[in-house]
């Protein structure tokens, strides 16, 4: 899932300064699961903002509404009537959700309340680890299910580099070398030949905006 963290209160106050009536829109999807932007976090943040602005003697009113997912337009439609009286919107979704909300209500200044951090896994309570860079050219089949793009500090496709010491990365000695882990796993599985050949240069598709339309739906959307 997508992992996000809350922005600092002072940063949010700076964004919202000048707007007296704001709607904070929560997201019931990934950011609710990673305890950053669900309904509970929306209420928590609203209370903090209201108290803080009040302490500054600034007129500020903030309300909340949580939609099931901000990355789906039909869930956002529930807001159509609700947003009308507000000067600005604050979104507690990931960056994609913020943009979809801003696209639906282009006349409303829309601000992000979170920093979207990575695509990761939920190891334990409040413990998330990055696992995928969404690069669009998955090599996990060759690397024993360990991603060198996400896990190697240098994103090497032909590793390891000359830097690892005692199985740890030269960039951060507390992090294991991804390529040594890949080597160990493939060796244990008897698949070392997977990484003996040189991996060719990639296209780095994640450098352009990604859009995915599944094959059975291509004709439907090409008509529009």
């Amino acid at each position: 899932m997508i992992i996000a963290t809350k922005k600092q209160l002072e940063e949010l106050k700076e964004m919202l300064r000048g707007y007296s009536k704001v709607l904070n829109v929560g997201c019931g999807g990934c950011t609710a699961v990673c305890l950053a932007g669900g309904q509970r976090e929306v209420e928590d943040l609203n209370t903090q903002l209201a108290i803080s602005f009040k302490a500054d003697h600034v007129t500020f009113e903030i309300d909340s509404f949580t939609v099931e997912r901000q990355c789906e337009m039909h869930f956002l439609s529930a807001l159509d009537e609700i947003v009308k009286p507000y000067d600005a919107l604050l979104s507690m979704a990931c960056g994609a959700g913020v943009q979809f909300l801003a696209e639906r209500y282009p006349d409303k200044p829309t601000f992000p309340a979170l920093n979207t951090v990575f695509v990761g896994v939920n190891r334990d309570i409040g413990w998330y680890e990055e696992r995928c860079k969404s690069c669009g050219e998955c090599v996990l089949a060759m690397t024993g299910g360990i991603c060198p793009i996400a896990m190697c500090a240098k994103g090497l496709l032909n590793g390891p580099c000359g830097g690892p010491q005692d199985g740890h990365c030269e960039v951060n000695s507390e992090v294991s070398c991804a390529w040594i882990k890949i080597h160990e796993r493939l060796k244990a599985q008897g698949r070392l030949e997977n990484i003996l050949k040189i991996c060719p240069v990639r296209e780095w598709q994640d450098q352009v905006q990604g859009t995915l339309v599944l094959e059975p739906y291509r004709e439907r959307y090409s008509r529009k």
Binding site: G28, V33, T47, I51, H74, R123, E129, E130, N172, V175
Partner: protein, 169 residues
Amino acid sequence: MVPLRESYTMPDHDRKPVDTDQIKALLHQKKRSMRLRLAACAGCTLCAESCFLFVSKGRDPRYMPSYKVLNSLGRLYRKKGKVSRAELEEMKDLLWKNCMLCERCYCPIGVDLPNMIAFARMILRSQGVYGVYPHSLGAPDGDGDETSDPRRQSDQGQGEAETNKAGSE
């Protein structure tokens, strides 16, 4: 600067009575389309086969999309919004724990089941009743194997957790 963390408390919905007038007003907003959909459900149970949770939970009928809709939104309409907090809590399990809102449930006569579940969730949210992820309270929900991850019990794993947390901040 006001010490924020010490000066506020989270809204405590549990102590508030259910605002049945608000529920009634929300139900009224989509009364026509929702009642039509509820009436259109023939109880054929074909939607059940399209729900991955129903299939993976041993075909437990409580995971059938139609069951979830009829016992949440249907119940709210039947009772004209006059429900207790305990009833809302029962619906919460149906709407959050028993449904991922993946929107893949299929109705052969075209009833938009995900839309109805989303609407029911919206009504519950208005009363401060919503799904709280079990891990956020530190309470395993029992469905997953919470002890199967070897890193959670190892010193090495804890070390890496701290590294990663610092990195993400």
